[in-house]
Symmetry: D2
């Protein structure tokens, strides 16, 4: 009886371009991108992924690569994978696909990651008004722990997870996505509670053939043009899972995905060594290449049994997750609160986004008293195992959000002290971009994300 | 050497009215409400509180009391308590007041609680469009556990905490609150992403003398009229703490409060046996009377050392919390996700409030497949130890929020199953109001909250 | 509908003697000690207990009371309690009695505790050869936390539990106990792997009328003489539960007890605010008076269904425990190891007792480098939430035992450091006995325990 | 800047014999076994190991391989590794070597493990009187989870750890070991509280050249003969660490080892996918080959600073451990108790070994009511993440030990139920040996272990 070694279903070579991989990657959601691999339920298999930028960011001390990242070609996904039952009958629309992520790793030989702050004019982030300039932090791994020369004095165990994992949408669901997101852009919302930079940061990323990578579909064909023109961008989480950025999708968890097309066509990428709730700096987890070990099961007819569609279409559902048993076990937390009064003092009505922004800003200010730069903390909160909570959502007019930070990740006690005040330690700061701005590398950086 | 027994600083008799208590209660925030008690730092003392409605809700099987609750006279607080250092010098503006909640209990002889859904026209809640009719669930306690005849099949340990605790605002801070909240009401926001009932549910509760209870300030005096006319309502959490509804402020936690007036004037109330993140049904925790055991410390000049004001005034800060070591230890969780596409299919831009509403609705729909009514689950999610998370806040256009539910609170396995589908158990439902609506008890119910 | 307030089944007044209580206490196990109270299954009720010495130890700075404690009259228990089903039919032999300890408290007005080291000639303890002199530490409570002026620099949350709880033995089981324990004493084991003081410390405490307290049985009657002459001493844990000293029998746990006589006759006492695994100093938990809140259920015929007797009699079974969900949540532990080579260098064969002794000694030596006296640590390890593990029991000739100590209970970092060595803090020591020994208060101190 | 990929310090090929590996393995402790590799402090490196039997056990359904295992040649270790500081100066006697186990894996391509019950006449185990016949269970891994066709209905996350890790002894320490263990054997203890089979099971395994494997020392040389004649066997844990079988030495833990010879000479092996406290069946963890990722640090002079020798020599110390942050998080446990009365009813004096045996037997009996064979449970308790505790060690005459079993590892609820009794499921049993015993493969099986 042979040992049950995982099937190496999809491998990648990070030295090659995404479209040059043996099983070429894709960066759009579309039902017509063909499966590149197939598994039966119960099979234990592995999938390797490149980092979300496809290798644009380097392990160095300069942030130009983050400042000028090409966001039109991000979220390279491994897959699609066709899933069948033990008799070879594919998963069908209406089924639930149960994916157990039974282990997750950095990619051997490529054990490092990065966290970035995007330039306000090229990507931005949750606090882009406060942090308009690009920056980055490079992280190394001591097995389960991450540490960074750019954010000294912290070290924490990772909860490795895929930022992006999902099943393929049906044509009908894809159309719903494109329609509703276009309505938002067309509505041209001028004000937002979150930032003032809508003139440069898009409301949504609509289908755009520029930068599209479509797996085995050959560029130049009519099929490529159609798919690239329709394919949903990978930025947001949606009904199929997608970029849900749930930091606890780690060792031993299960995801119950709705199946929208025959075979389910499961894809994944954007591996994170660790992430904080909200992934606030946008390029925000410890981004890396990686490997997932997993199994699939099919619950026939499971969507009818377990998921209730909401709204005008029966496709309007979401995956369900079951957390794994190996989360880091922290006992001591410091919790920062925000209410839905923004940093100018303006009152908002039960707006959790504003409240969470305030909680994050409060925490950044607090930690900066201990000798960190605010950029360091912004990136740290984006990638360390902190928890963002919706604490109060009914007490008009203030939503209350909280950010809980585990104390054990710091090499000193960061609690308020009765005697002596905060202990200020002089530290190195993160690298900024050294580019002087005189020669823009692209005319309209914001266009990239569009 | 005498044993160190806690000082019974404030006691209440739940059979009496709030204003008849030996140390009369108050339900407004104002610097001029006099302290009714005084403690030194290091003293171990207890404070008793009535339930947040001051005894309006009964342990019976009819929801009329919830439907017609008088919301003008809620959040009765015990206090204010003047805090001094060991030499009797009071806490001063600019200090931090450290409050350790060293133990919390139901009130002896009054060991029960309730969770309610408010009528859409009298209070409402996070999902008021979906649940317009009043309902309630009564909970009993087996020591650390709560259970309800109105929500059969669940039982969970409580994390007893004060929904409402805070220091008194200074006159300057009070004025900031009243100004910004009035701006919101005056702005007359007509649309909101959260519900359609702004015509009946207020945007904010502005100062209103009706129902005011002001401690030792005698009604009929000029002082009473001034304070009642200016005093901030207790509904929202604000810079002083207040109704922050943080479910983990329980056994052994510490709160670092800013001090705005001499003596700090700490008040508290609205005890909860247990609450879910968000307290979604508004009357939503297991509401009860209770007792807190606590100590205070003063960090002189702590606001300058540790808190950074933001915005136009240096008063714009928030408390910091340190979680206690005795949280329930759950290992298995089922997690429901929501994205910022509302239940009509409309796309919203990075709106966590909408995303969390979807996550809660998804969970309610899911659990209703197991034989529960949706009202039962709405109340359960409001009061059981579930966690609401801000999972993604940067992936335009969708915010992602998640609701994590501990499996151990149910008496059956509620995970999706490959075989057999959900196990449907027939159960009793919650009591609804039996009132037929023909004779409104008050002309404009919504006015109450105003 | 009245609130479900616990029934105050047994109350005590710590100012009175054990035999003067309204429902008199008992300190022997015997089937003929009559029940003093009765409950139905499902009833929520409370039981109060005195401390295990019945008030012999004082809150002061002198250890004479520990040195001369009268061990003939210890372990005063509240009960017995007769348990019936809802129809009033008593629990019967062969049933299982399920006891849920739904909450536990110090006794109001008596909120303090003590830990002692017994004199080698009057009680002794696990390390009595190393610590022959009596000492004590007095603990106060800040709600869930304990701290001591005699062991500065530590503070920890308690897991309040009854050291002693059990059902009454049948006459047959009592006889088995007395027979096997007498065999041990008669065998006159001269050497032991644990200590050298068998000449003064008894191998077992056989029935002894001196100091007996038998509830409602009147001294001077024939019945009293019979029961006092046969009644099992309360020192060890046995088939009925008894002095099992399991530190996790705390909030929300369940115990499944075998029932040996009609009514079950449940008794309990020896409340601990906190205890370390092993309770190594013997007087070793934070000993206190206290109150338990609980419910009972009966599993009819449960012993046959769930418990398998072993050995020559069907009575040779043990209770089963289900841990509650509210244990302190510690993340960081330092673990000390011992092997079954004793402190003289002698090799023992797979002896966990020796291995655990070495682990405890190793930990005491280690912590003494940080400025503590060894007596302080011996008592601390006896009462703080440390874990004692049987790590290896098969690797001849060495058993391996480990002692895991949570780091969060110390006010400084006690891990080994690369730079600087242990941080030595000068601290007050524990009080020793001031008695000079010239006038022994009793002729044969060891006789007391016999 | 190159990514920080771990240095592959020692690799193994499980298809080759231990002595054929590129860096040959060793199975004795001796200061003169030369280091096969060298690292500097701070280096991140990996070490691969074969399984503890060097490949004697197969993935099949027959237990003959366990029955006839050759125990003279077990515990093949990878190493020794010489450790130096950053300047290349080796660790020195008196230093502490800090080893962080930063990640641990099964060996790629060899992802399976086994648990065995040894034959009473060839190895035995903790309960060998109760389980005299060999048996085995083969385990497969789904990422972090283990499951077995031989123990259906259970699945649990592993805490991968090295059963055996330690520094090399000095000649002086080696001599102490050999002297004290020989004294035990020479003493010829005839009775033991643990089992009756001392005639066939050795009291200790003394040095024995048969089966010795000594790394790069060539067989046939005088050096080989000397080392093989003196080298300590690997069975027990000792002052250098060794076979301590501590189940929590897993991801992210640190071990503080005493250094006895220049270079420290660190060796390790006997990888376990998971183990229960005590490893009761002796071949008892989920035994496997594996890979460790680790770093070393040196605390110069650390032994003097932190470790206190005990007894006649300053070498009599033990390592200290710091647990990692990624233990499985279980919330619900069933706890079985044992007291030091053995299964014949005989009373023992404070004997934790007997008490733990009773706790294990009680648990086996209990679980056998649910349809498992006792052999299945014996092996399960040996390898699943159960906890063995020293609960009471002072209450004469009974020691109390407890075994805590996490409920989540079973696919059904195994708690006692009021209605219906235990749910009996019919299951396949473990494979037994099919060998009929007529032709012993070796004359004196017990000799092997000697």
């Amino acid at each position: 009886m042979p040992p049950r070694t995982p099937i190496p279903l999809i491998t990648v070579n990070p030295a090659k371009k995404p479209w040059e991989q043996e099983k070429p990657l894709h960066n759009r959601w579309h039902p017509d991108i063909p499966a590149v691999a197939e598994v039966k339920e119960g099979d234990l298999f592995t999938v390797e992924t490149v980092d979300w930028t496809g290798g644009q960011i380097k392990d160095d001390d300069n942030s130009d690569d983050v400042k000028f990242v090409d966001l039109s070609q991000v979220h390279y996904l491994s897959g699609p994978i066709k899933v069948t039952d033990k008799d070879g009958v594919p998963a069908k629309p209406g089924d639930i696909l149960v994916v157990e992520l039974s282990n997750l790793y950095p990619l051997a030989g490529d054990e490092w990651g990065f966290t970035g702050i995007f330039d306000r004019d090229n990507g931005g982030g949750f606090l882009t008004d406060h942090f308009p300039a690009a920056a980055k932090a490079v992280w190394y791994f001591d097995g389960v722990y991450a540490y960074s020369r750019h954010v000294p004095g912290v070290r924490f165990p990772g909860l490795i997870h895929p930022g992006l994992i999902g099943t393929a949408p049906s044509a009908e669901l894809l159309n719903i996505w494109n329609t509703r997101e276009k309505s938002l852009v067309d509505g041209g919302e001028k004000a937002t509670t979150l930032c003032s930079v809508l003139q440069t940061r898009p409301l949504a990323c609509l289908p755009n053939a520029t930068g599209a990578c479509l797996g085995t579909v050959k560029p130049g064909t009519a099929n490529w043009t159609k798919i690239a023109g329709e394919g949903a961008r990978t930025v947001p989480g949606r009904e199929n899972g997608g970029n849900c950025d749930i930091k606890n999708l780690s060792r031993g968890c299960k995801v119950y995905f709705p199946v929208f097309i025959e075979g389910a066509n499961l894809s994944m990428g954007d591996m994170h060594f660790s992430q904080g709730d909200g992934e606030v700096s946008f390029c925000g987890a410890i981004e890396m290449s990686g490997k997932l070990e997993m199994t699939c099961q099919i619950i026939r007819g499971g969507m009818d049994q377990y998921l209730t569609p909401m709204g005008p279409t029966k496709l309007h559902v979401n995956p369900i997750f079951e957390i794994g048993p190996l989360e880091p076990r922290f006992s001591e937390w410091l919790v920062f609160e925000g209410i839905s009064v923004d940093e100018t003092g303006k009152q908002h009505y039960l707006d959790v986004s504003v409240a969470y922004k305030r909680a994050v800003l409060n925490c950044i200010d607090y930690l900066s008293k201990f000798g960190y730069s605010k950029e360091q903390i912004y990136m740290l909160l984006s990638c360390c195992p902190c928890e963002g909570r919706v604490s109060g959502i009914v007490d008009v007019p203030n939503a209350v959000a909280t950010l809980a930070l585990p104390l054990a990740i710091f090499d000193m006690d960061i609690r308020p002290k009765k005697i002596g005040g905060p202990k200020v330690v002089s530290r190195l700061d993160v690298p900024k971009s050294t580019y002087d701005g005189s020669l823009p590398r692209f005319v309209n950086p914001a266009a990239a994300l569009q």
